[in-house]
Symmetry: C2
Subunit: 451 residues, 2 copies
Amino acid sequence: METTTRLILPEVIEALGTDPQELAELTEELHPADLADLASALEPELAKKLLVVLPVEVGARLLENLDEERRGELFAALATADLQRAAAITDEMAADDRADLYATIGEELRAELLKAMDEEESRDVRQLLSYPEGSAGSLMTTDYVALPANVTAQRAIELIRETAADKETIYQAYAVDQNGTLLGVVSLRDLVVSPADRTISEIMEPNIVSVQAEDDQEEVARIIAKYDLLALPVVDRHHRIAGIITIDDAIDVVEEEATEDVQKMGAVEPLEQAYISTPFRELVRARAPWLVVLFVAVMATRNVLEHYSAHAAVMLMWFVPLIGASGGNSGSQSATLVIRALAVGRLEPNQAGRVLLRELAVGLTLGGILALFGMASTMVWESSRMAGMVLTIGCALICVVTVGALLGSGIPLLLHRLGIDPAVASTPFITSLVDIAGLILYFEIAGLFLA
Amino acid sequence: METTTRLILPEVIEALGTDPQELAELTEELHPADLADLASALEPELAKKLLVVLPVEVGARLLENLDEERRGELFAALATADLQRAAAITDEMAADDRADLYATIGEELRAELLKAMDEEESRDVRQLLSYPEGSAGSLMTTDYVALPANVTAQRAIELIRETAADKETIYQAYAVDQNGTLLGVVSLRDLVVSPADRTISEIMEPNIVSVQAEDDQEEVARIIAKYDLLALPVVDRHHRIAGIITIDDAIDVVEEEATEDVQKMGAVEPLEQAYISTPFRELVRARAPWLVVLFVAVMATRNVLEHYSAHAAVMLMWFVPLIGASGGNSGSQSATLVIRALAVGRLEPNQAGRVLLRELAVGLTLGGILALFGMASTMVWESSRMAGMVLTIGCALICVVTVGALLGSGIPLLLHRLGIDPAVASTPFITSLVDIAGLILYFEIAGLFLA
């Protein structure tokens, strides 16, 4: 929360109880995003009261800027108390935010609200609701500017002026024919700069980047970022325009996708809500399966140790965690670098060979560095008499760090090649694999030097 | 690379050798971002040739869309061969991209290019170059629209039309007084919609969100995303406007910052370049210090094991990696969730107590689940006779998983409280701490049940 918002919070709470007039003054100059912060910090009952007291249009802006989970709760509470007002507020909301809101409320309430809307708008909402979460369709809004291709720049600006109030953006307008087929895109910049009598078809850019409603939101964000677009049109199979996705939604997607990737890399099923508002059950559900899978995988280490400990010196056992951690850390580093590079599209599949060669070299170098530390400390601890032990630790470190680097980079690359999201090769998963491989290597090397 | 770009690559390479005219036709319809992809895929010598053959303005767009590292190399090669052309291309570049480019080339070349520019523009570049990397100043452009507050909407649109070609965006204009003090912001949307004779001071929004040139780019991106801004003004101490940062730069920052956080969390010093173009030395430098630090930290496990193994049953040693991994994985999960929530500003410092309580509960639950698996498998392996062993494994798993959850969440929260970036509490770091604590707990518990 911004500091200014935090400072007026107590006054807002007081005004809510006593003086709605003062409340209007307090909140008048707040940006809707700050107003949403304020509502989030209030008790549910007070937040609901705020929505009742504020002008309908301000309430709509507030809801547009609220977290999805809190928005659903707050709106459901309002609708239960005052359905008329709830319907009036959604009338004022942007089409995409309204559809998102409707997706999070109960079916009964949704049906009631849809019944209260006029036919065309209700069809619009139903259409937007039909796209799966995470698709281009679920991000888009139908409030875009469409223009006939044969009007002049001057006429186009007039048309835009007349309808601007209802549009998500007027900075990009889309030239369409009578079937709604997308012919080109023209920016308000081009319209303003071009001579008044030029037609849209002369000004427009006919080479348009577009997506389909089923495309993934990650792809949408990638395209918007790559081509520096303010808005990206969504078309159907017949290249008819269905909606647009604006860059402010793309920025949220980039952050959301990064969060999902980070969570997967930490062996957590991506959470649907913010961590702090995720219910306890949900947290356990997102974490337990991975912990169990990893536990079962690492169980193999017990058998490896049982097998080798029959013959090995006790001293060898003392170094087991150190060897395992070194390989695991190296693997985590490689996996982190490769998974992220793949996620941001900075690594092409045909570079896999080059990556593995480099990781081999990096692994050997890093392993060599650790080996120096490991051998030096072994000499100190084991009072230098046991040359075999010193050599075992040195060789084992070089091997496990290199194996870590190779598995950490190779497994994500393999998953990517197979069309599986490489982020599922979480760092704990890589660590577990390296643990098992590392132990076997360690004892085999010890067998050579300490036989 | 987009498929279409990949498809014309061979033709472009051929045309570069034989037929510049065909080249112009091939590349004419390409978006500058695709052209940049193309240049990235070419051998350096051919890429340089492409810049020589393309029109100067197209070359400028190409450079604007190229990776920083490749841009610097390509431009330096061009400047060595043809300084005139290199200077002409930078003349056409956006002010912010040009300054970024100048920051990556050698000092001598930069001095030569600055000498060739006119006085005012050269001062402008020097100013932009003076801001440290990662600051708002380093992201901003000086190509913004400033308007006197007393002109009418109609006049303002005329003024914008006249200067549009040189501006980064014309969709936000900034009302300033004769000293350059920022008075308000007005969007082209407001200008187009409002009656022609209204003055800017009547239309503009006087409550402006702005940043200072020294502010961090992460804060810039947060503000742009939060308030859905197309551009954010940068002001000096006297509230005079110095430049603007556009949303397309913010989207790159969000991705860049997420990458840095991911790398830190994987115990890698953030790389300056893309993974694949990072030199070998740089990769080792980014990874070796952390590996060594973690190695030294985990060394403690050797002493812990030496201490306990004197009295403990050999069988206890077999479970060391399993116990360590379970605690480490739980810690990785907690650290991932908390670090990311802090990074995206979805966790407030005053929620630390609530987080720790929840992690305690989650840790106990997850530990309980793993304990069931652990005890069941111990009964199978150790043929159920040793009740003490089964109890040891069960209790140890509950304890280490809980300790993992508490350390994994608590350490990032503590670092955040101390003003240190919580992402430095990498998952390998958490894993190492949990390893040591977990081993001690495990053997102490064993002492109770197996005494």
